[in-house]
Symmetry: D2
Subunit: 346 residues, 4 copies
C-alpha cells in the first residue's frame, strides 16, 4: 500500500485527488494538508466525503510528511512546492507537483511570466514534465514530476502529432481555449461568484496567460525549433471541462487519412487519448469525470489550415487524474490503476 500525502487538499484539484485516490486500490491517503482548515474535519470542508474520509486537515509540513509517506502531491499555488523541497526530502519521497514550479526548464522564462523568483532552480533539471503519453519512460524513473497545467495538457496532446510529423507550420499556431470555472480555484473572489460567471463568457489573460510559455516549450520539442503561439483562454459557465480549438497552416496538401494516420501513430495504443471518428467534434461533457482527452481535427481546403480540437476534464486529465497517472508510472503500477473512470453523462 502506497502512503500518500496531499499538500493543498482543500482546493478543487486537491479535492479531486482525494476523490480519485479514495478509489485507488493501492493507495492510502495519510495526510490531508490544508493550511486554511487545520484541525477541521476534511469532510466538513467537502461534505461529499462525509463517512468516506474521517481525517482532519493538517498543516503543510513537508519535512514531517516526508517521513510518513511514499509520495507527496502538492496542489498549491506556484512557489510553494519549490520553496519546501530539498535534497533530503527528495531522497525520502517522490513528489508530484501540480503547480508550475518545475514545468519550465528555463528559469528566466518562469520568473518572467510568474513574477516570482524561483527558490530552488537546482531541481529544475531533474524534474520530469509529466505528460505521460509523451514522457512515459522518463516519468517512470523520476523522483520529482512536474504535473502539466490543464491548458498545456489539452493543447499539447491535440497538436503534438501534426507538429512532430511536420504537417503544420509552427509559426502559425493559434490556440483558442475554453475552460469551466473550477480552473479558477476555490478562492472567494467577486469575479468567480455564480452571478458573475453564469450566463456569461469572456476571454481573459489575452496574450499574457502564464500557460503560454509552457505550451510553447512543449510544442518546441515537437517541432524541433522554437515555437511562438497565440493562446487565449475563455471562462465558460460550467464547472468542469476544457475545450481547445487550435488553428495552423498546413505545410502541404494532405488528405484526411494522412492526418488521421499522424494522430493514430501516437495515440492508437494510448488508453487515455481517444481520436474520435471523422467529423465528430469533441465535447467536454463526453469526458467529464474521466481521465480521457478526446481529440479530432478538420482540414479546411479553402484556407489550407487544419483545425485541431481537444476536450478533457480540467480536474482529472488536467490535474488530479494525470497526477495519479504519473504516480502509477513512478511506482511501477498499472498506468490506469484507479483511473478507469467512465465519463458521466449527462
Amino acid at each position: 500500500m502506497i502512503k500518500a500525502g496531499i499538500i493543498g487538499a482543500t482546493g478543487y484539484a486537491g479535492g479531486e485527488l482525494v476523490r480519485i485516490l479514495t478509489g485507488h486500490k493501492d493507495v492510502e491517503i495519510k495526510w490531508y494538508g490544508s493550511r486554511s482548515y487545520i484541525d477541521k474535519k476534511y469532510a466538513e470542508v467537502y461534505q461529499n466525503m462525509f463517512q468516506i474520509v474521517d481525517d482532519k486537515c493538517m498543516d503543510d509540513n513537508m519535512e514531517a510528511l516526508a517521513d510518513q509517506v511514499d509520495v507527496i502531491f502538492t496542489a498549491t499555488p506556484q512557489g510553494l512546492c519549490a520553496s519546501l523541497v530539498n535534497e533530503e526530502i527528495l531522497s525520502k519521497v517522490k513528489i508530484v507537483d501540480l503547480s508550475a514550479d518545475f514545468r519550465i526548464k528555463d528559469v528566466a522564462t518562469y520568473e518572467e511570466w510568474y513574477k516570482i523568483q524561483h527558490p530552488t532552480p537546482q531541481f529544475i533539471p531533474e524534474a520530469v514534465y509529466g505528460l505521460c503519453e509523451i514522457n512515459r519512460e522518463a516519468v517512470k524513473k523520476a523522483r520529482l514530476v512536474a504535473n502539466p497545467g490543464c491548458y498545456p495538457t489539452c493543447s499539447t496532446l491535440s497538436i503534438y502529432p501534426l507538429l512532430k510529423e511536420g504537417l503544420i507550420d509552427p509559426g502559425t499556431i493559434i490556440i483558442d481555449a475554453k475552460s469551466g470555472t473550477s480552473g479558477a480555484g476555490r478562492g472567494a473572489k467577486v469575479d468567480n461568484l455564480y452571478c458573475e460567471v453564469n450566463e456569461n463568457i469572456k476571454a481573459y489573460g489575452v496574450a499574457n496567460h502564464r500557460h503560454t510559455p509552457e505550451i510553447e516549450e512543449q510544442l518546441s520539442y515537437a517541432a524541433g525549433e522554437p515555437v511562438l503561439i497565440n493562446f487565449t483562454p475563455h471562462l465558460v459557465p460550467m464547472n468542469r471541462g476544457i475545450l481547445i480549438t487550435a488553428y495552423a497552416s498546413l505545410k502541404k496538401e494532405v488528405s484526411y487519412e494522412e492526418v488521421k494516420a499522424a494522430y493514430d501513430k501516437y495515440y492508437a495504443n494510448e488508453k487515455f487519448v481517444r481520436v474520435l471518428e471523422k467529423d465528430v467534434c469533441p465535447q467536454t461533457k463526453w469526458v467529464e469525470g474521466s481521465n480521457y482527452v478526446d481529440v479530432n481535427f478538420k482540414i479546411d481546403p479553402r484556407t489550407k489550415r487544419v483545425i485541431m480540437m481537444g476536450a478533457m476534464d480540467n480536474l482529472v486529465k488536467g490535474a488530479a487524474g494525470q497526477a495519479v497517472q504519473n504516480m502509477n508510472l513512478m511506482f511501477g503500477l498499472k498506468e490506469s490503476e484507479g483511473l478507469e473512470l467512465v465519463p458521466m453523462f449527462p
Copy 2:
C-alpha cells in the same frame, strides 16, 4: 460473470446503467436494447462510451434476451415491461423493472393514475418493491423487482423513520420536491430545451403527479394506516439531483436527540443513507454521481413541525444505482459491488 441485458439502454437511466455496469466487476452487458437506434453503435448515441462500449443497439426482444442473459433491466416507459413479461421469461431470468408497472400493489390505483390498463396484473403480487434499505430480505428472494421511482426513493427514505416511530402525524405530510432535468428523459420536447429550462424554475404535476400514490403506499406501510400527502415536484436548471423538503406536524414535543435516534435506528448501518450532522442541510451536489441519499431534519418548536430533507442523484440511487443494488442482492453479491462511487464535487 452475470450476463445482463438492458431494454431502453439509450434513455438517461439506461445510459447510467451502462456507466455503472461497465465498472461492475461481476457483470457483463450482453444486450443494449434501444428500439429507436437499432443497429447503431451504442457509442455513437452516447459518445462518452467511445472505445469503452463497442456493441450496437438491438431491438427490445425480451424472449430472445431471456435465453441469453441472467438479468434484464427494463428502463422504459410504463406499460412496456408489463406487456412483455410472462411466466416463461420469469422462469429463465431475473427482472429489475425501472418503470412504474409493478410498484403499486393496487392495480386500480395504478390504472387510475397512469391512465393505462395493466396487461399482466397477475405478476404484481410477487413483484418486490426494491427499496433495498426497507425490503432487503424480500429483494434477495425476488424474481421480479419493481425499482422505485426517483421521487419516492428520496421521499420515503427521508420520512420513513419518523413515521415508523410514530413521531409525526401522517395526515399532515407535505413533500415539496425539486429535480434536475435528466428526470424528464431524453425525448425531444420544447419544454425540455436548454433555453426553456435554464434560468427558470417551475412546479409541475401539481396535485396530480404519478409518483404520489407510490409514495403514499410506502408511507402507509410505515404508518400502519392509509396516508394521503401533498406532493409537488419542481424542475430545476441542473442535470442531476433530487432534493425533497418535507413537512409534518410532530405528535409530541421531541428533542433533536430523539429524532436523530429515530434516523440512526434505521440508517446507522446503511452504507448508502447518510444522516448528516446537526444543522447541515443536504445538497444535491454532495451526492452527485453516487448512490448516496443524504438526509437530515430540523425541528421547528414555534410551529411544532419537523422539516425533513433528503438529497440524492436521481439517475443513481433514484434509478440505475438502486437497480444495480437490487441486482446485487438478488444474485447474492456484496450489496455495494460496483456502487462504491465517490460523489463528484464540483
Copy 3:
C-alpha cells in the same frame, strides 16, 4: 425631474435600481453611493453601464445627500439606514429603505431575528410597509417607506387574497421558497462561488430565516389574527427569480371559481400582479427583468388543501422595481412609470 440618491449602489439591488432609474423619464440619479468603491467610476464596477453612466461612486453620506436629492434609496445591509436616518433628514427627503430596518412594527421581534439593536425605533411607527398593492394609499403619504423583502413580497401577494377572504386555515400555512443566487448579494463568499452553486440545490435558514417574522406580520394583518408559518428558502442555480410554493388547508370545500374570484377581487385591476389561467403554473423565466408577480393556485380535493404559487424577479418586484413603484406613488407619478418592462424570454 426628481433627483435621486442611492446608498449601496454597487450591490445587485443597487445595480438594478440604476438600471431601472436610468430608463425612468422623470428621474435623474445624482449620487451613486458605495463605500467600497469610492472615487471609482460606476461603470468600472458594472461594465454594462459603460457609456451610460459616467459618474463616480461616492461615500454613504446621508446628510450631504439629503441636501442634494429628493429621494434616497438605501440598498444596504440591515442596520445602516436606521443608523443614518434622523428627523432633519426626513424633513428634507423621502426615503425608500430596501433593508429590513423599518419593515417590522414590533422592535423586539426585529432585534430578536436580526440580532442587532435598532438604533432609531422612534421612526418605526411612521414607516409604511411598501407593498404597493396592499398599502397603496399609505405609501402615497409616506416620508419613509420600508420596501418589502423579496420572499415576503412574493409570499404575501400569493397568499393574501385567500387569507383575507377566510378560505384557508391560518395555522396550516407552509411556504417553500426557491430563489436565484443574486438574492445572496455580491459579497465574495465561497458558498456563492459559481462551482458551489451550479448543478446544486439546497435549503438554507431552515426554521430560522429572517424573512419569517416579516411574512408572518403581513399575513397576520390579512388573517386578523396572529399567524405562525413554516418558511424554507432554497438556493437555485440561476441568477434571478423567486418561486414560492405555499400550502394551506381549506376551511371548507370550494370550487376553482370561488378561489379564482378571491384572487380576482384583489388583483383584477392590478397591473403588476397577473393571476394566470387555470392549470398554468408560474415560471420565474416568464417575469424575468420585469415588475410582474405571476400567481396561481391548485385545489387538491384529496387532501383538502390548496397549493398557492407565485413567481417574480427578486431584483425587480422583489427589490428595485418595487422601490421605484413606491417612489412613483410617493411623488404622485403614474405608478408604472419606468416599470413598463417586458419580461425577457429566453
Copy 4:
C-alpha cells in the same frame, strides 16, 4: 403609428421582436404570424406576454399582410422570405428579412452553402445588407433589407476598422466564435435539450458553417479584395450572447493608440458600438438584453498579431434589435427609438 407584421413570431428571434416592438412608441404589431400555432393565443406560446399581448397567431400570408401593414419582419428559416416576396408586395410594404435569403450578393455562393435554389434572385441586387453602422445611408432608402446574421454582425463590426485601415493582413483572419443556445432556435431536437447543452461546450459547423461566406463578403468590402477566413462557432451553455475572438497578423508594428484610433474613427459616434477601455475584455453579460456590441483588442508584440474581441446579445443586435434599428432608419425615425435598452446584470 407604423403597423408591423411578423412572419415567424414564435421563434426566439420573433419573440424578441415582439418584446422590443411592444416597447416601441411608434409601432403597433398587427400580425403575429406563426404557421405552427395558428389560432392559438400568442401569450399561450410565450407566457411572458400574458396580459401584454392579446392577439392570436395567424398564418404566414404575405399577400394579405402587405395590405394591412407598413413593414413586414420575416423571422423564418432561409428560403421562406425569398419564396413569398414579389414586386407587388414590395410596392406596398417594406421588408426586413431576418433570414439569409438576401444577404449574399452572389447567388451561386448562397446556393452552394445553403443547398437550396434561390427562388427570387432578381431582388438580390436591390436588397441592402442591414449592418446599420456600415450601410446606414443605403438602409434609409431601402425597400428590402437583409438583416445580417448574428455571427456576421459581431464578427464584421469587430474586425472592420482594422481591415478598412489596412492594419491587418486579410489572408490571416481566424474567427473563433462562441454563442448561447438561443441561436439554435426553438425546434425540439435532442442536441438542444437542457441536459445535452448544460455543463458542455463543443465546436460545430467546423470549416463549413453557413455564416462563413456572409462574413467573407463583408470583410472583402472592407479589405477591397477577396477575403477567406476560418470561422469556428461553439455552443456555450447560456441562453443569450455571442462572443467572437478574432486573430490576424499585423501588417506593420503598431501602437495601442494607433489601433484604438482606428476603432474610434468608425465608432466614436456610434451609439450601439462601444469600444471598451484598454485591457478590458468584452463579456456577453454586459450587453445582455441590449442592442450594444462591445469591442476591444489586444496587440501581441511577440507574435505580431492582434486579437480582436466582440460581444453582443445574439437575439438583439444579432437579430431583432438590429431589425428594429433598420426599420427605424427605413422610416426616418430616430435610429435608437425603442432600443434604449439598458443591459441587464446579473
